[in-house]
Symmetry: C2
Subunit: 174 residues, 2 copies
């Protein structure tokens, strides 16, 4: 098992969620236990010995390996969610989309000043969601934030918006 085998197991779905978009579907990869195991170890190994004590996963697909990475790195798991989903007091960040805007929230008590956080999502597209999540983590006092994606769509240049604030590692690039 290697990254190339994972890449081959990812399914291309044309015109999802809207016409003209070629969606990278990881479900065909992660139904294979060997891929779950390989990705878990590979990403966790990359982030060991960095003092990470919290892993923040972005709803919903970011919960999948976010929680696994929390376990593997002996860190706590923090959900970053869409507005209205977290029950206690939150901090919210709105960001622009191509048409309109969206927002993410985090519980105010999710991060302690000085925390070293790994922010995880499955996909880096334009970087808007990750940047908003990163800002929330920083506002709550995170000392350092590393950012990981399973997949990076390089042609959308999301990395340009993030690299000033966080070290990004993406496994698979298109």
């Amino acid at each position: 098992m290697d990254i190339n085998a994972v890449k081959q197991a990812i399914r291309d779905v044309p015109d999802f969620p809207k016409p003209g978009i070629l969606f990278k579907d990881i479900t065909t990869a992660i139904k294979n236990p060997e891929i779950v195991s390989f990705l878990s170890k590979h990403i966790a190994d990359y982030y060991r010995n960095k003092g990470i004590n919290k892993v923040a996963g972005i709803e919903s697909r970011g919960f999948i390996f976010g929680s696994i990475l929390a376990l593997q790195l002996n860190a706590g798991f923090i959900p970053v969610r869409k507005p209205g989903k977290l029950p206690a007091e939150t901090l919210k960040k709105t960001y622009s989309l191509e048409y309109g805007e969206d927002a993410v929230e985090i519980h105010k008590d999710a991060i302690n000043p000085g925390d070293i956080v790994l922010l995880h999502d499955d996909l880096l597209a334009t970087g808007g969601t990750a940047l908003a999540a990163l800002e929330l983590l920083q506002e709550l006092g995170a000392k350092k934030v590393y950012t990981n994606f399973l997949i990076e769509l390089e042609f959308l240049k999301g990395i340009e918006r993030l690299k000033e604030y966080t070290e990004v590692y993406s496994l698979i690039k298109y």
Copy 2:
């Protein structure tokens, strides 16, 4: 670390998501790495040696330990999602709520006939969502489905709707 310590770390949030409901918030528990580690091992140990080869997690909170359990049990991970979220061909099941209805979907190629599946969600309330997910798994040919919840709200009697079709294990009961 034991189940009682996990129970004490779960936060009660009154009137969420609507007035009169006392929400059981696991985020205060799972930001503690010892709890993530304890729950992962405890639940996985319970399900070892049952031949489970797929773990299905129900969106969104069911993805958190669903994916961890897939890793721990050397199984594939299958997302059960709200309508319109899965990109490829799906099977959909509609179920009744107190007011109105809701639905869940699964990819048609998620399950192979003969699969032994662990269905996981964070919370068992009335059991409507889990029952719909269970029916999807069975329609796709799962040979046996075990069902696990972190929390069971016993007074809602969800277990009565499920126990005929699946063996249920819930860690924490209220």
